[in-house]
């Protein structure tokens, strides 16, 4: 069943888009991540222009995180003060990300920048995840207890000025690293069309030593707010948000996430992280191959807007 996408200017099979939404939704529900790092590449691989894919995926992420964020909010499993500070940094980061997106698009280097960012980001984060979870699995097998949070271990950036006590997270430290994390993560995410959950969660756990109980809820709120902001910015500046494509993706994503969450609860944490790490690395490798191999045609043609 074909449907014509108004912004992407391309007929696609509605079943294929729905299937992508379902599959990514399943994975995001299972691992508790937004899944943008899978949706954007999949859309690019089926022929959606990278600019439309990256801009539209912000809708998909906002839609799928909303229901999850709602649930965490009800259970109060998040730190409002931490979230507000992250969002402050994140909004500035998102605005810079959209600006960078438009600049690179104008000079014709957006595609390559998205590809390179994917290779570096997914390669590094994925490998770290795989190593960390493999260690955890072997530790569990040897019978050692999992390493807990070490209180009192402080890095230099915790001593920066503007100290604040985050009550819900039970941490006391400078707000500067929090703002920087929000800025950097959302700059990257809006620019390449990912949710950024898989960057915020490790950053908060390993850098800020935020307890795991509030990390996911806090990261979901950050993702939700900045993605809604990014949708509006993308739509207002580059007109690349395809509402029809977004709607189909979200419907698939919301349904898939429900089944994914059920499967995720039955699988063990370390194994889940190992699987996620491997998925991330695989997507990174796929991008690396497309960058290194000589393309079939060295030339590409892109129509410019407003030239009619």
């Amino acid at each position: 069943m074909q449907i014509y996408l108004p912004i992407a200017d391309l007929p696609v099979n509605i079943i294929v888009i729905l299937a992508i939404g379902l599959a990514v939704g399943f994975i995001s529900g299972m691992f508790g991540v937004g899944g943008g790092f899978l949706t954007t590449p999949l859309l690019i691989f089926i022929g959606v222009p990278p600019a439309v894919a990256a801009a539209t995926v912000t809708c998909h992420i906002a839609g799928t995180t909303f229901s999850a964020a709602f649930a965490y909010w009800r259970r109060r499993a998040l730190d409002p003060a931490l979230a507000i500070l992250l969002i402050c940094g994140g909004l500035v980061g998102a605005a810079c990300g959209v600006w960078m997106f438009n600049r690179l698009r104008a000079i014709g280097q957006l595609e390559i920048a998205i590809g390179l960012s994917y290779v570096i980001l997914l390669g590094v984060v994925g490998t770290m995840m795989v190593i960390e979870s493999a260690r955890a699995i072997s530790r569990a097998r040897l019978g050692h207890p999992t390493e807990l949070r070490r209180p009192g271990s402080h890095a230099w950036f915790h001593g920066l000025p503007l100290k604040f006590r985050f009550k819900r997270s039970k941490i006391y430290g400078s707000i500067i690293p929090v703002l920087v994390i929000g800025f950097v993560v959302e700059f990257i995410s809006t620019f390449i069309g990912i949710g950024g959950g898989f960057l915020v969660v490790p950053a908060l756990i390993y850098i800020m030593r935020v307890p795991t109980s509030v990390v996911i809820g806090t990261s979901l709120i950050l993702t939700l707010v900045t993605m809604v902001f990014a949708i509006v910015l993308h739509a207002a500046t580059n007109h690349q948000v395809d509402a029809v494509l977004a709607l189909i993706l979200i419907v698939g994503g919301v349904i898939g996430a429900q089944f994914g969450a059920r499967t995720g609860q039955r699988t063990r944490g370390e194994h889940l992280r190992l699987l996620l790490g491997l998925t991330v690395v695989a997507v990174g490798i796929r991008f690396a191959i497309s960058l290194v191999l000589q393309p079939d045609d060295l030339y590409t043609v892109r129509p410019l807007e407003g030239g009619r």
Binding site: Y4, P6, C59, S67, F70, D297
Partner: protein, 257 residues
């Protein structure tokens, strides 16, 4: 329905052809459809061009038809990738200024059988003879047919079905009656398409007739495109509300606590 209209059209054209005065040749042409609608189920379309030649009697040498269909003009960039530090990056580009977004040249036989190379150049017959202005830095010029960027531009557009050159695109149904199919791929731009039908005899232009059709978006497609282009901010806000509503609906439907 469509078939009967075509039949009537054909009959009318044949009648015109038969009752024409004996003087110079005249050319009559019509399209099967003057408005092509792009809706949510659009996967391309095909128009049929019908035409008749008004002449006292069929010439022994026969006639030649060249139909040129030009879509709305737009600017486009052609990039060339080069290997830099092991990866393929867009290294060079040319901007093509107000070039047709769709271009089809349909004839009944090979170009060199219709007219000499000189006439073809003057009459702009064939894609190679149609100027495509490109801009590199500051100079604006029509690049030579051998320019690699021009060739790449033509090759890619041909692959997409947007540019098309067919020397068997026009079929003579009778000595003075012809038809041609104009395929429009899914990616066609919206706007006005000009159809220029020219009649050649013995390598010289003897008659020409213009026609046109319009490709437009309708229904939800038109609404979404117009909203996204003209009211970006509002469109973004509405889209954001829509995504949140869908997400919320999902959490309500699948709520288990």
């Amino acid at each position: 329905m469509k078939r009967t209209t075509l039949a009537i059209l054909l009959a009318a054209l044949a009648l015109c052809a038969a009752s024409a005065p004996a003087a110079a040749q005249r050319l009559i042409a019509s399209l099967s459809n003057h408005r092509v609608m792009v809706t949510s189920s659009f996967t391309g379309a095909e128009l049929v061009l019908f035409g008749a030649i008004e002449a006292a009697s069929p010439r022994r040498g026969g006639y030649d038809i060249v139909a040129t269909i030009t879509g709305p003009r737009q600017n486009a960039v052609t990039y060339r990738k080069d290997r830099i530090l092991g990866i393929w990056i867009n290294a060079d580009s040319r901007e093509f200024d107000s070039v047709p977004s769709y271009l089809a040249v349909l004839t009944n036989r090979d170009f060199d059988a219709i007219a000499t190379a000189d006439t073809r150049r003057r009459q702009q017959i064939g894609i190679d003879n149609i100027p495509l202005t490109q801009r590199a830095a500051v100079t604006i010029a029509d690049a030579a047919a051998t320019d690699p960027f021009r060739q790449a531009f033509l090759r890619i557009n041909t692959r997409r079905g947007l540019y098309r050159e067919a020397t068997n695109g026009v079929t003579f149904l009778a000595p003075l009656l012809f038809r041609a199919n104009i395929p429009l791929p899914a990616g066609v731009a919206t706007g006005n398409y000009e159809v220029d039908v020219r009649l050649f005899a013995d390598g010289a232009l003897v008659a020409r007739t213009p026609s046109a059709f319009e490709v437009y978006k309708a229904g939800i497609e038109q609404f979404v495109t117009a909203a996204a282009r003209n009211h970006g901010l509002l469109f973004g806000l509405v889209t954001a509300m829509m995504t949140l509503a869908t997400g919320w609906l999902g959490s309500v439907i699948f709520r288990r606590d």
